[in-house]
């Protein structure tokens, strides 16, 4: 196991942000931490990256203890933070150079290495522009390039597409997929976008209130719900009768909407509609990670923007000195 976490806990005063998490992540895996804002994803990542000291538990990264062997851990990892972390008065190239020197990349092949990663993220022709002239997506790519510069075994990406527009997000996903193909690198992604976790990750841990709710591959999690999702807008559902139908696996109700997990939904839908009463609208879909989240927590994984997203932060602090 490349990363082994047991009982990892972080308390801020009385508040438990990360509550006794266990993880084991294999070499070469793309592993996702999926959960809503405030679930404790960033805190977990910071502990794995030696930036925060765990209150309790142990974490081994690349075989090194994050507390006792923090230097070795830091040499093994690259990290792209949730918030912008490049100096916007420096050019893209200069930011990478700074990083390379801090990680002791020999002067001799500095240029070559920097160009390598710039090519990977498609920023060669913008390398001499100051970062303040970059768009949010470019800045994110630069920071991914920077995270790869010292050839880490493990790359942490904290909300890699937070605050990016859908098109840029699509691009970013392609870059990450490419990366996985080109470099044999283990990636840990945190996200509160279920499509992102679904598309990029081999396995995910769903995290809520600092606890891991379930860990598995997205496909397995979805198929284990045991059917398709029928969602109906209805005022007075006859749930008693619905409960007697054998092919209905699960019934959820959230604000005026009834969600049923149904085997062979295509075939059984007419009978359901007849039984439940008069519905205002109905929708049928294959399970998503949102449904999985709902199944385990009883709540929706909302797609709301995180507070102080990447791009807001990047622009807020533009005029800083």
């Amino acid at each position: 196991m490349l990363i082994e976490v047991k009982g990892l806990t972080k308390r801020f005063g009385d508040f438990t942000a990360v509550d006794s998490i266990n993880l084991s992540i294999k070499e070469g895996e793309v592993f996702g931490l999926l959960g809503p804002n405030g679930a404790g994803k960033t805190t977990t990542l910071h502990m794995l990256a030696t930036l925060l000291k765990p209150t309790d538990g142990i974490a081994l990264v690349n075989g090194y203890d994050v507390v006792k062997q923090s230097d070795d851990v830091r040499k093994s990892i690259g990290i792209v933070f949730q918030e912008p972390s490049s100096d916007d008065l420096l050019t893209g190239y200069e930011n990478l150079r700074l990083h390379a020197l801090m990680y002791g990349v020999p002067q001799a092949n500095l240029r070559k290495k920097i160009h390598e990663v710039l090519e990977l993220v498609d920023l060669v022709d913008r390398k001499d522009d100051q970062v303040k002239k970059y768009s949010g997506g470019m800045r994110r790519r630069l920071e991914i390039a920077r995270g790869l510069l010292h050839h880490p075994k493990i790359l942490f990406l904290d909300e890699p597409t937070l605050g990016l527009d859908p098109q840029t997000r699509e691009h970013m996903w392609k870059y990450i997929e490419d990366l996985v193909k080109k470099k044999k690198i283990t990636i840990i992604i945190t996200t509160h976008y279920m499509e992102e976790a679904d598309r990029l990750c081999d396995r995910i841990a769903i995290i809520d209130h600092g606890k891991t709710v379930v860990i598995d591959s997205p496909e397995k999690l979805k198929s284990e719900l045991g059917g398709d999702i029928v969602s109906m807008k209805i005022r007075k559902p006859n749930l008693k009768a619905i409960g007697k139908l054998r092919y209905v696996k699960k019934i959820d109700r959230t604000n005026g909407v009834v969600l049923l997990t149904v085997e062979n939904a295509n075939k059984n839908l007419p009978e359901i509609l007849k039984t439940i009463g008069s519905v205002e609208s109905v929708e049928l879909h294959s399970p998503t990670l949102n449904d999985v989240f709902l199944h385990f927590t009883g709540r929706q994984l909302r797609e709301e923007q995180a507070e102080g997203g990447f791009w807001e932060r990047a622009t807020t602090y533009k005029v800083r000195r």
Partner: protein
């Protein structure tokens, strides 16, 4: 080895940013010149200190003032680094906190020395020549500024907002400057002021530079220098400690 190149990298970044932020330089140079020409010029037209024109007398003090304000204010940039996640990027690198602190100190020292140099360019206006003393003046400035920059960085490492930082350093800056002998001679002070002035490290910086520039000093220059070295060493130790303890 990577500690050394890391030290260089951190210094280089600070230096590049300094060169690109002209406003940073302008503000810290205008202020001392204002004091020198308006306050010094006004009082200098009717006062002299031990035969030295008042304006000339305060000139070394104004150089220290310029470095003092910019050195301590330099700590604000670490608060900005915190606001962005840039500081995390530095702290997650495989470098010791000591290296990071020293790299920052060197960056601040470079900025302040450049500012001092610009103010020293006008020395001929006051009929002051440095000769070989110039090297000694830089040595004294280097040691003094190292301590002052450390003060700023220590405060910066503890603060979360630039406003909070600004508030705290204004309580540090002004006493250090006004109670340093930059604006008055030390030989005839009332006891309470004399005591406070002698406890102020900036006093010895002003005194040594005045001795090296004008040939008049209250203490021996060697004495000043040794005290400054002790002051700066102590602050480097405290600063390293503060950086180790620094939370994100």
């Amino acid at each position: 080895m990577s500690e050394l190149s890391g030290l260089y990298a951190i210094w280089e970044r600070e230096f590049k940013v300094f060169l690109r932020e002209k406003s940073r330089m302008v503000a810290t140079i205008i202020n001392p010149l204002f004091w020198l020409f308006i306050f010094g010029g006004g009082l200098g037209s009717s006062f002299s200190v031990g035969g030295t024109n008042y304006q000339v007398f305060i000139y070394p003090g104004i150089i220290v003032m310029a470095t003092l304000f910019s050195s301590i204010f330099y700590g604000a940039y670490i608060v900005w680094d915190k606001k962005l996640d840039f500081l995390k990027e530095v702290l997650v690198a495989p470098l010791s906190r000591t290296t990071i602190f020293l790299g920052k100190v060197l960056g601040g020292v470079t900025d302040a020395l450049i500012q001092a140099s610009i103010i020293m360019l006008i020395a001929p206006l006051f009929g002051i020549g440095f000769g070989w003393n110039l090297a000694l003046i830089y040595l004294v400035l280097f040691v003094l500024i190292t301590g002052l920059v450390s003060i700023g960085l220590i405060v910066g490492s503890l603060m979360e907002s630039p406003e909070g930082f600004g508030l705290i350093i204004s309580f540090i800056n002004f006493p250090l400057f006004f109670l340093s002998g930059a604006l008055y001679p030390l030989d005839n002070l009332p006891t309470w002021l004399n005591v406070i002035t002698r406890l102020n490290p900036a006093t010895y910086g002003v005194d040594a530079i005045r001795g090296l520039m004008l040939g008049t000093s209250e203490f021996s220059i060697m004495f000043d220098f040794i005290l400054l070295c002790m002051f700066s060493l102590a602050l480097i130790v405290i600063g390293t400690f503060a950086f180790r303890r620094m939370k994100l």
